[in-house]
Symmetry: C2
Subunit: 773 residues, 2 copies
C-alpha cells in the first residue's frame, strides 16, 4: 500500500511537474511580445477579403462625383476635388490615419477667357475667310459648362503671327528637313498632326527653319481608325473623337515646375528668370479639331506630300505652295494665329494620406495618381482617382475597424497639376528627396485606370513583374467569369522568358508619361504603372489575314471579319476623347467601361500588389527578373554596336559592361539563394530587414546625376528616355546614334564614357546584392 501510495505520489508529482513545465513554457511566455509581429507574413485571407470588398458601383459613384465639373489644375473645380479627397481620407469610418494637403506655387499657362485664341484664314484684302472653332461642339450639357477651358497649347507664347500655311506631317526634325527641301519655310505657319514627336517639339523643331507659328490637330487616321462623322460614327455614337474635338496639352519637354528646377516650389524658393526656361515652344502654337484641319489641309497647294504623311482625309495632303492652291477660295490667303496665353504662378495642392505601418513604419509603399484634368477628365485622371478612392475606402475601413494594419507604411498621393508637366509629384519628390529615397519600397501609379476594356497593361521595373503576376492571377478578368486577369493578359501580350517560359509582356517606364517619372528617373525608386487597355489593332496583321483569306472567302465574309476587327481592336494613339471636352462620365460609362468592371479589376490588381508590398515579410521584388532584362539589353547592344565600336577601338568584347551584367546575374542568383535557404520567420528580424533593404535599394544603384546632362531630372541609367528608339541601354543608344551621325571623335569618346558609366552602375548594383560584407 505504501508502495502504491508512493507510486501515486510520484506519478502525481511528475504530472504536476509536467503541467508546470508546460504552463511555464507556453503559458507564461518569456519571448517578447514583438517577436511574432516582426516575423508575420502577408495574410492571404485578408487579400481575399479585400478583393471581395472592392465594389464596381462604388467606383462608378466616385467617378460621377469626381467629374461633376471640370477640374483643371488650381481652378475652383480642382479645389472641389481636393475637398472630396480630404473628406474621404479623413472619414472616421473608412478614412486613413491622416490626410492633409501640401501646396506649391507653380508656373502654369492659361488661355485668356476674355480674348480667346483665334485661328483664321485671312485673304489679301483682309477678309476673314474662315475661323476655326473656339470651343468644341456640345453634345451633352457637360460640354456647355463655362469652366470648360478653350483648347490651347499650355506654355505656347502669346503672339500674333500670319503667314502662308504648310503641312509638316508630325513636326519631327526629319519632317521639317524634308519639307524645307521643297518649300521655303521662312515666315510660314506649319500645320502638324499629333504623334511622332512631343508636343513642344513640333514648334521647337520648326523655329530654326523660320516657321513663325504652328497648328496641331489629331488626324482621324491616328485616333478614330479613320472615322470622321459625328452623324453616326463618332461620339456620342461611339468612343471616337468628334470632328471638333481637340487634344489639349502641356507643350513642354522637361517635367516639374519650370521656374524651380530641382527645388520644391515654395513661396520664397528662388525662381529662374522666365527667359531661362528651356524646352517650351519658341513660337506660338495652337491645337485645332480635325474638322478645321480638314478645311485647311485639303486646300493646300504645292506638291503632294509623301505617302507616310497622308492621313484619313479624302484629299491629297500637299506640302503647301507655301499656302493654298490657286484653285482654292483661300488662294493667296494667309493663316493667322492670335494667341493670348499667359503664364501665372498659382497655388497647386497635392492631397496626401497615410496608413502608418505597424512593424516598419519607416518603410513606405506609395500609391498615387494625379487629380487635375484638362476638362472633366473622366478617364484622365478620374478613372484612376475613382479606383484609388475605392482602395482607400476598403483598406481604410479595415484599419478603422482594427482588423488590419500594414507591416509597412502606405502613403497615398493625389497629385496636382500633372497635366502641366507632372508638377505635383515632381515637387513632392524634390521636397522630400532624402526621406523618400531612403525609405520607399515602391511607387504604384494608376493614372488612367482604364483606356479600354480588353486587357491589363503593366509597366515597371523588371523586379515587380513577379508580384504583379501573382496579383493578376488572383483577380478575375473584367467581364470574364472564370478567366484571371493574368490568363487574359497573356493572350493579348506575351513574351518568352528564359526563366519563366511564356509570360505576359511587361512594359518599361522609360518615358515621363505620368507621375511615376520623378520616382523612377529622379529618385530611382522601383515603380509600376497599371491600367486596363485596348486590344491593339495590328494593321499589318489585319492586312496579312485579309490577303491570305482572300482566295477562300467571299467579300461579305471579309467585310464581317474587318468589322469584327474594327469593333474590338483599334489603332488609336490613345483613347479618342483624351484631353478633350468629351472625356466625361457619360463617355466613360458608355464607351470605355460599362459596368465599371475593368475599373474593378484594376482596383483589385493594384490593391493586391499594394498589400503584398506592404505586408510581405520578404519584399516580393525579384532581382533575377531584373538580370534577365539587363541581359536582354546587353545582347541588343552587342548586336547593334559591337562591330562598329571595335572599329573605334572601344572594345565591348572584353568590356566591363559584359562583366557587369554577368556580375549582376550572379549576385541576383546568390541573393535568391540566400532568401530560399533562410528560415526568415525564425531568424533575427534584422536579417530579413537586411535582405529587404537590398531589394528596396536596388534601383537606387542605377542613379547617376551626371549621366544625362541634357535631360532634366533623368538619372536612372537603365530607364532614361532615349531618342534612338532601340530596346537597349538608353544613354548608350543615344550616344551611339549621335556619334554615328556626327562622326566626331569626341562623340565616340562619349560612347566610351557612357559605357563606363553604365558598367560602373550595374557593377555597383551587383555589389549591393552580394553578401553584405
Amino acid at each position: 500500500k505504501m508502495i502504491k501510495q508512493l507510486l501515486i505520489s510520484i506519478v502525481c508529482g511528475a504530472a504536476m511537474l509536467t503541467v508546470g513545465i508546460l504552463i511555464g513554457h507556453y503559458g507564461i511566455t518569456n519571448a517578447p511580445s514583438w517577436v511574432k509581429d516582426v516575423v508575420r507574413d502577408v495574410d492571404e485571407s485578408l487579400i481575399e477579403k479585400f478583393l471581395s470588398e472592392v465594389d464596381n458601383i462604388q467606383i462608378q459613384e466616385n467617378l460621377k462625383e469626381l467629374t461633376k465639373v471640370p477640374h483643371m489644375a488650381t481652378t475652383a473645380g480642382d479645389e472641389q476635388t481636393v475637398q472630396l479627397m480630404l473628406k474621404r481620407w479623413q472619414d472616421p469610418e473608412s478614412g486613413l490615419d491622416q490626410a492633409w494637403r501640401e501646396e506649391y506655387l507653380v508656373y502654369l499657362s492659361f488661355p485668356d477667357p476674355k480674348n480667346p485664341n483665334k485661328v483664321t484664314v485671312v485673304s489679301p484684302s483682309e477678309t476673314v475667310l474662315h475661323t476655326a472653332r473656339e470651343k468644341e461642339k456640345s453634345y451633352t450639357p457637360d460640354q456647355d459648362d463655362p469652366a470648360v477651358v478653350q483648347p490651347y497649347a499650355a506654355y505656347s507664347p502669346a503672339g500674333h503671327q500670319r503667314g502662308r500655311l504648310v503641312y509638316a506631317n508630325q513636326g519631327k526634325p526629319s519632317d521639317y528637313l524634308l519639307l524645307n527641301q521643297t518649300v521655303d519655310l521662312k515666315g510660314t505657319i506649319a500645320i502638324t498632326r499629333y504623334g511622332g514627336a512631343g508636343r513642344a517639339a513640333k514648334a521647337i523643331n520648326a523655329a530654326p527653319y523660320g516657321v513663325i507659328g504652328v497648328l496641331v490637330y489629331t488626324d482621324p487616321l491616328d485616333i478614330n481608325d479613320g472615322l470622321m462623322s459625328d452623324a453616326n460614327e463618332t461620339y456620342p455614337h461611339s468612343w471616337y473623337m468628334p470632328p471638333s474635338g481637340v487634344e489639349r496639352g502641356s507643350f513642354n519637354t522637361h517635367y516639374g515646375d519650370m521656374l524651380t528646377p530641382y527645388l520644391a516650389a515654395k513661396e520664397e524658393t528662388y525662381r529662374i528668370p522666365v527667359e531661362d526656361i528651356t524646352g517650351i515652344p519658341p513660337i506660338p502654337i495652337q491645337p485645332i479639331g480635325f474638322e478645321d484641319a480638314y478645311i485647311l489641309i485639303c486646300e493646300l497647294g504645292g506638291e503632294a506630300a509623301p505617302k507616310e504623311w497622308q492621313g484619313a482625309f479624302n484629299c491629297t495632303y500637299n506640302f503647301g505652295g507655301p499656302g493654298f492652291k490657286p484653285t482654292s477660295a483661300f488662294n493667296n490667303s494667309d493663316v493667322k494665329l492670335d494667341i493670348f496665353n499667359h503664364e501665372k504662378i498659382k497655388n497647386s495642392s497635392n492631397v496626401m494620406g497615410v496608413i502608418k505601418g505597424s512593424v516598419e513604419p519607416d518603410r513606405y509603399v506609395i500609391y498615387g495618381n494625379h487629380r487635375d484634368s484638362w476638362v472633366h477628365g473622366a478617364i484622365d485622371p478620374s478613372s484612376g482617382t475613382s479606383v484609388m478612392l475605392e482602395l482607400t475606402r476598403v483598406l481604410g475601413k479595415m484599419v478603422k475597424q482594427g482588423k488590419w494594419r500594414p507591416r509597412r507604411s502606405i502613403i497615398f498621393g493625389s497629385w496636382g497639376a500633372e497635366e502641366f508637366g507632372l508638377i505635383g509629384s515632381a515637387e513632392y519628390t524634390e521636397q522630400y528627396f532624402t526621406k523618400l529615397s531612403e525609405r520607399t519600397i515602391a511607387y504604384i501609379n494608376v493614372d488612367i485606370a482604364v483606356f479600354a476594356n480588353a486587357t491589363l497593361r503593366a509597366s515597371g521595373m523588371p523586379s515587380v513583374q513577379n508580384v504583379i503576376f501573382k496579383a493578376a492571377k488572383q483577380v478575375n478578368a473584367a467581364g470574364l467569369e472564370s478567366t484571371s486577369v493574368y490568363d487574359n493578359w497573356i493572350k493579348y501580350s506575351n513574351r518568352t522568358s528564359p526563366a519563366h517560359g511564356t509570360i505576359p509582356r511587361m512594359g518599361y517606364l522609360s518615358g515621363a508619361g505620368s507621375d511615376y517619372a520623378a520616382f523612377v528617373h529622379y529618385l530611382g525608386i522601383t515603380a509600376m504603372d497599371i491600367s486596363y487597355t485596348y486590344d491593339r489593332l495590328d494593321l499589318t496583321f489585319v492586312a496579312l489575314c485579309c490577303l491570305a483569306a482572300l482566295p477562300f472567302l467571299s467579300f461579305l465574309t471579309l467585310f464581317i471579319w474587318m468589322f469584327f476587327f474594327i469593333q474590338s481592336k483599334t489603332n488609336a494613339r490613345i483613347y479618342p476623347a483624351y484631353h478633350t471636352a468629351y472625356d466625361t462620365f457619360d463617355y466613360a460609362s458608355k464607351f470605355i467601361d460599362p459596368g465599371f468592371v475593368s475599373h474593378q479589376a484594376i482596383a483589385r490588381t493594384a490593391g493586391n500588389v499594394l498589400i503584398r508590398l506592404a505586408d510581405s515579410l520578404v519584399l516580393p521584388l525579384n532581382c533575377s527578373d531584373y538580370a534577365e532584362i539587363l541581359e536582354d539589353y546587353l545582347k541588343t547592344a552587342v548586336n547593334l554596336y559591337q562591330n562598329q565600336l571595335q572599329v573605334k577601338h572601344i572594345s565591348m568584347g572584353k568590356h566591363p559592361l559584359k562583366r557587369a551584367v554577368a556580375s549582376f546575374r550572379s549576385a541576383a542568383t546568390h541573393l535568391d539563394q540566400v532568401i530560399l535557404s533562410s528560415d526568415l520567420a525564425n531568424e533575427t528580424p534584422l536579417k530579413v530587414r537586411r535582405i529587404n533593404d537590398q531589394l528596396m535599394l536596388l534601383d537606387r544603384a542605377f542613379l547617376n546625376p551626371l549621366a544625362f546632362p541634357d535631360k532634366y531630372a533623368f538619372r536612372h541609367v537603365i530607364w532614361a528616355s532615349s531618342s534612338a528608339g532601340k530596346p537597349t541601354f538608353p544613354g548608350l543608344a543615344d550616344a551611339y546614334a549621335k556619334a554615328e551621325s556626327s562622326g566626331q571623335p569626341r562623340d565616340w569618346d562619349k560612347v566610351h564614357y557612357h559605357l563606363s558609366v553604365l558598367s560602373q552602375a550595374i557593377e555597383g548594383a551587383a555589389n549591393t546584392l552580394v553578401d553584405v560584407i
Copy 2:
C-alpha cells in the same frame, strides 16, 4: 493522518508545479536565441580591455618597419607596405576576417631620375651663377636611400623657362594683383612661399599675368618659428626643417584620379583627354629649400615688398626689378627652370580588411588611412598606419580568440596614392558608391596620428562630438598620469556650447586635406579626423602677456618665459619635416613623440570611438549637436548678409533658411526625446534599427550634386570648401562674396538660389529626423 498526507501531497504537488513552472519558464526558453543578441549594447569591460592592450612599443615597432624604405605611391617601397599590411591583416592569430588588395590604374606625375629638375641663375653670358640643390642634404643614412625622390611639384608640366625673378609672396590672387601694379610680370619667374594659397593655385594665379614659371619654398618664418641654421637650430638638433629641406606635394585642385572623374579608374574605364584636366599648373613650378630661396630673394631688386610679405630672412624681401639688384652678382641674370616631370598611368593598391558584424553585418564602420608617403613618411602617413596596425592587432586578436565580434561590420582601408590627390580613397568611393552610401555609419580617418605631443585634435561632423568626448574621457593624456585626453584637450582648445557649457573645440572637415574628403563631400558620410597636435603659438597672446608682465618682471624672467613659450608652442604651418626627406623614424621617435605615448593615446581614443560606433545599441551620434552648429552658422550668416540681402530684395528675415534651421532643431530635440523615452533593449529591434538609420543617414540629406558645379565632387552643402573664409554655410558665403565683388544681378540671383538649395537640404534633413511617418 489522511488529512496530513493530503496536505503533504498538496504541498508537494504545488512544489512540483512551481518547480515545473520555473523550469518551463526559465530552463526551456522559448524566446528565440537571437533575442538577446539583437539588443546587446556596447560592453564597457571590453573597452577597458582594449585600452589596456594598446601598446606603445608595438606602435613604435610598426613605425620602424613601415619606414624602412621610402614608399612613394606605386614604387617598390609601396609594394613592400602592401605586403606588410596583407601579412598583418591575414595573420591567423591577430588578423582580420578577411583582407585583400584593390587595384586602380591612376594618373601620377614623377620627376625623371635621369634628368633631374634644375633651377639655376644664368648670367647674360650664359654662365651658371647658382644652381639650386637637387637633393636635400643628408644627415642620416635614410636620406641617402636612392629611392628618395628629388623634390618636385607633382603635375607641374615639364618645360624650360627662363626669365627675371620676382617675389610674389604666397601666390594668392591678391599677391599677383599687387605685384603687377609695380612690376611688369610678363615673362617673369615668380618665387612664392608656401601657405595662403593651394599649391597649384600659386601657378594658376600667376599665369594670367604672363608669369612663365614659379618657384615655391618654405619660409623659416612659417615653419621654423624663424630658425634657420642646421648647425644647432634645425634637424638633426630639433624638429625644425633644415635649410635644404623641401616640401614636396601634389599640385592639383581637385581630388581623385584626374583622368576618370566620378569613375573608378579600372583598366577599361573611359579616360578624359589629358588636355581636359583642370586645376593643375599651366606653367612649370618647382619647390626649393629656403637655403636656395634665401640666395635668390635677398638678391632681388625693385621696391621693398609690403610688411606682410616679409619672411624670416635677414634681408628685405623686394618685389624684384624684375630681376636682381644692380649691386648683386646676379645683376641682369635670369632664373632658369628645367623641369622634366612626366605623367604615367600606374597601378596603385588599396589594402582592405574587414571584421564581419554579428548582428548587423550590413552596417559599416570604416577606419582608414593612406599608406603611401613622399619619402619615408614616418609621420605622414606612417604614424597613422602604425596606429591602425596596433588597433587591428588588438581587435583582431579578440576576434580570433572568439572573445568579441562587433555588432556591425568594420572595414579597414589602407589607401594608395593619397599624396597625389586622395586617389585611393576617392576611387574606392566611386567604385562602391551605392553600397557605401547606403550602409556606412561613419568614417574614421587617422592619417598623421601625431603632429606634436601637446593635445588631441579632432575634426568632424558635429554629431560625432559626443562619442569622441566619451572616448577621450576614458583615455590618459599622452605622458600625463592622471589627466584624461579630454581634460588635457579642453585646456588647449575650447568653446562655450549653449547646451554643454565649456567643451573642447572640434574642427570641421570642410576641406579635402586627407582621405575623409570623398566620404564627407562626395558620399555625405559622417566622418572624423583624429590626431595629436601642437600647442599652437598664439603670437598675439604671447605679446599681450609680455606687455602685461613687463612692469613686474625682470628681463631675465621675461626671457625665460619667452623661451618656455618657444620651446613648447610653435607657429609652424605644420610639423617642419612634412613632405621632406627628414620625415623618418629617427625624426619621429626623437622629436615628435619620444616613447610613442601620443601615438598610444590616439590609438586608444580612435579605437574606443570605433568600438562604440560598431557595438552600441543606439548609435552614439547626436543630432542636437548638429543643430547647435547649424544655428551658429545661421547666426553668422544673418549678421554678415541679412542687411545687404534686404537691399537686394532677398529676405533672410522670413526666409526659409531660418525656418529650416528651426525645423532641424525641433526635429533633433524630438528624436533625442524618442531615444530617451524608449526602452530600446526591450522593444522590437526594428525600432532601434529605424532610429539608427535616421542617425546614420543624417548627413546624406545634406548632399546636392548640383550645389557646387565648379567644385569637383563637393556635394555636402554644410561642409564644402569655401574661399570666402567665413564661419558659415560655404556655398552661401562664396556666392555672396562673388556677388558683392561683381555687383551683377545674376550673381545676386545665385545667392538667392543657394539660399534655397541650403534651406531645402536642411529642411530635408529635418524631415528625416521627425517621426518616420
